[in-house]
Subunit: 331 residues, 2 copies
Amino acid sequence: MPASTLQRNRCGKSRFRREARAGNSVDEFELIDRFFDRKEKSAGVKLGIGDDGAVLEPSPGFDQVQVVDTMIAGVHFPPDTNPADIAFRAVAVNLSDIAAMGARPRWMTLALTLNNNSEQWLQSFAAGLYEAADPHKLALVGGDTTRADKVTVTVTITGEVERDAALLRSGARVGDTIYVTGTVGDAAAGLALLQGSAHDAFLVSRFLRPPARIATGRALVGKAHAAIDLSDGLAGDLKKMLTASGVGARVEIEKLPLSKAICEQFDDEERKHLALTGGDDYELCFTALPDAVADVPGITAIGEVCDSSNLRFYLHGDIVTVDDSGYRHFQ
Amino acid sequence: MPASTLQRNRCGKSRFRREARAGNSVDEFELIDRFFDRKEKSAGVKLGIGDDGAVLEPSPGFDQVQVVDTMIAGVHFPPDTNPADIAFRAVAVNLSDIAAMGARPRWMTLALTLNNNSEQWLQSFAAGLYEAADPHKLALVGGDTTRADKVTVTVTITGEVERDAALLRSGARVGDTIYVTGTVGDAAAGLALLQGSAHDAFLVSRFLRPPARIATGRALVGKAHAAIDLSDGLAGDLKKMLTASGVGARVEIEKLPLSKAICEQFDDEERKHLALTGGDDYELCFTALPDAVADVPGITAIGEVCDSSNLRFYLHGDIVTVDDSGYRHFQ
């Protein structure tokens, strides 16, 4: 092969290798060392960041739960979102899946695509990541840093749950009561405010910093029959759980737990719409017998599981239909 | 809050929710069902794709190894790469990290960012994914599908290795022999050809479909003292292993194993340069006592670990220096 051709090829090749190296060699190690690798030992982590892989010690007698979620600037969060909030949210939405399975979080990996972000940006991102992880003793054990046009964050979390005790979507039984944790609709309300002129710190924080209902999920192991986390909106997510379980349900709209803030900022129809169809709440929805969960705090009964294939919504005793554009009286 | 403001906000909100939904709700389930979820049970997978998380059963007596790697179109592979090759490579580079730790692969998650890719594209991608995974009994247990400008693939793999037996970068000992698997430089040669006018099916396949030296990695458990996989080029990666181990080494350039194809397509200086500094080989480099690995096939001794802090390269007995632009006689 003539040297000139190789030269041309080498230049072409360099385009890939140089860009790849910006993410994969020196820069990456510097980034990880400076902002993400905290050196301290975490329980069960025999070897963390720095080798070809992390070495981890699973707990005997436990199953593992693995979850993964990607967030892209301009798709899943406004591009100008505070980096600490981006990181917090990327961890929190994965923790929410772990919670919905009844597991305790153990280890996390981070695949971070950067776009010429500053050191200050990275410092803030790392701070938000640990703010979300630390209360749950969730350790960052590995990662990969790359560069492209849009900031993209993929987090995976491994959790542990007592053998054969994971909470599934498919276990709802006729006669179960349906519960949700916290309040619903706040995150969609917060995102609406974030993109408009009005402001409400509580509602915006409910979008940017969703809760991780790990403690509730753990409390429900052996008690709840089915669980799902609310990412796409109560009506749609509850329907998924019912379908997986082969049952129907009736939900009383007036029982939906609403925050003081959503009641202050939105009128009655708007807040019911947000509560039923607004996404990103990352609360848990689950079914159980009332006696079994009587001592679980922070939960609200909103309906019951029925022997039908339908999910029916009632408002003050009348059937209403719910779709993406809101609810309306049954025609 | 006035309805008009909410309306405006709702429109803004829709931009995020609709795009997010294109990845996160109906479309995603359809995609996963049609192309990725094969329904069959895999060993240790109690619950695969379809709930909030996968439920997995670790093997008693084993440590786990977790690895993660991201590949972006236009950064890590040419944008027009065959989708089956993109998927194969995304899995293979992670398998290579698993191999370098001496582990056997068990479970994989896939975070896939699509860019209006066709059904045909997805079908080909899924086929390539399983082509890479199936020979190693690696099960896909979870995923997240999103949409953005550039195809981005993040794969995580969990493997298992006998307790406290993982191969680390840090275990190289003075007097060890240094080995590599297979042949080196081929992938960089293949990428150069891929971007030029010449062609060689073997070399190109060495870039697009890197080997996963799982069997060799497993054979080295309890025998090798240190190991790393070759992603950034032999000279740089070997240096990382030596630094982690606090030792130096001498490497005989004439001992580097070269393929017949690289010798046919590139002249002597070019192929030595590719073998020493070309990335993406995903072969293993490890140190061991020769007696311990005498029965391990497909490996070549290239040098030895020395009591110094330097990595020195020799060509026919003369010291030469190696950097990104190649090697030259020591000045």
